[in-house]
Amino acid sequence: MVVKLYGQVTAVCPQRVLLCFLEKEIEFEIVHVDLDTLEQKKPEHLLRQPFGQVPAIEDGDFKLFESRAIARYYATKYLDQGTNLLGKSLEHRAIVDQWADVEAHYFNVLAFPIVLNLLIKPRLGEACDVVLVEELKVKLEVVLDIYENRLGSNRFLAGDEFTMADLTHMPAMGYLMRTDVNRMVKARVNMNRWWEEITARPAWKKLMKMAGF
């Protein structure tokens, strides 16, 4: 029986899980939940994800939501298969967790509303909050300086190997790079180097193809 992922292949949070599946060579099935028609808020989906969000997974009797928790679960369950996303020791794993948490608390809080305003709202015919976007960009410069410094002495965020810490950034970064924010990344030597390297990975290329890019 193959794990079912409920979500939309173009949405950031489902992509986080899909990328994990692809890196770990785990077979999966996508069950489309249409965000444009707010299918995620309908009773049927609320039974899978009571906060009305995507993704959710069903793997036989086992169910889970929160994309980062799902990714960690599969990275743990299939530790010996595909890419090791969790580090080689307890201490290394904790640093992977540290930078994965940084993604959620410092990066995504800025990246998500920027992507929402610059890419998603125009598509849905809604007005972009230009003032907010400018404020967020200023804050993002500060955060990216910290990443730039980190990637100056580390090939990847948690050390010298690609891990969950890098993976978890990729979906939102992928969209950010389609906005004029991409110059912020390109202007930073280490971030640019890191982004080029991680987006050259076969799993990322497969994901982009699946998402129609």
Partner: protein
């Protein structure tokens, strides 16, 4: 050399402190004076480059992000104290799920209430009434989901207390105390019972007793 936790008087570091106490791990604390801007000084930024608390130093090893610290301690000391990660990979998955819910969905509106009700005047910015109202409504909607879930599950990840429950303690303590919105918890039967249970754990009582913000 004993593990050190920086910034014990603040809420986020208490996630790490309560976990250490639950697991019976010896530690020391190092105060960080946020009012004096100590967290923005180079010495502190070397430990936590985003300039927030906590930071943890364990011999040569440094780690920040309170929930990453919780996971590290719970994993390193797995064989002592309560098992806060569950017994199986699937139970761990449930712990991670609710730990992420706390971080992405529960804490953000609660943090807005904390900053705008408790700290606005002290930190010198105007308290945003509209944001307070919206945050309260958002938190109420989240707690409705918790109420439904906790009517079927004793603790968040199952019938065992886990990191997911403990992660809620510090800011919810503010919510029922100085923020003055205890009704959000008390008016929901199962959330209230869950809160009474986890907040009466000896490890949490010890955390508050030793590390509450000095009056």
């Amino acid at each position: 050399m004993v593990l050190k936790v920086y910034g014990p008087h603040f809420a986020s570091p208490k996630r790490a402190l309560v976990t250490l106490i639950e697991k019976g791990v010896p530690f020391e604390t190092v105060p960080v004076d946020l009012m004096k801007g100590e967290h923005k000084q180079p010495a502190y930024l070397a430990l936590q480059p985003f300039g927030t608390v906590p930071a943890v130093v364990d011999g040569d090893y440094k780690i920040f992000e309170s929930r990453a610290v919780m996971r590290y301690v719970a994993e390193k000391y797995r064989s002592q104290g309560p098992d806060l990660l569950g017994k199986t990979v699937e139970e761990r998955g449930q712990v991670e799920q609710w730990l992420d819910v706390e971080a992405t969905t529960y804490n953000p509106p609660l943090l807005n209430l904390t900053l705008h009700i408790m700290f606005a005047s002290v930190m010198g910015f105007p308290s945003d009434e509209k944001l307070i109202k919206e945050s309260e409504e958002k938190l109420a909607a989240v707690l409705d989901v918790y109420e439904a879930h906790l009517s079927k599950s004793k603790y968040l990840a199952g019938d065992f207390v886990s990191l997911a429950d403990l992660a809620h303690l510090p800011f919810t303590d503010y919510l029922v105390g100085p923020i003055g919105k205890a009704y959000l918890i008390k008016d929901r039967k199962h959330v209230s019972a869950w809160w009474d249970d986890i907040s009466s754990r000896p490890a949490w009582k010890e955390t508050l007793e030793k590390y509450s913000f000095p009056a």
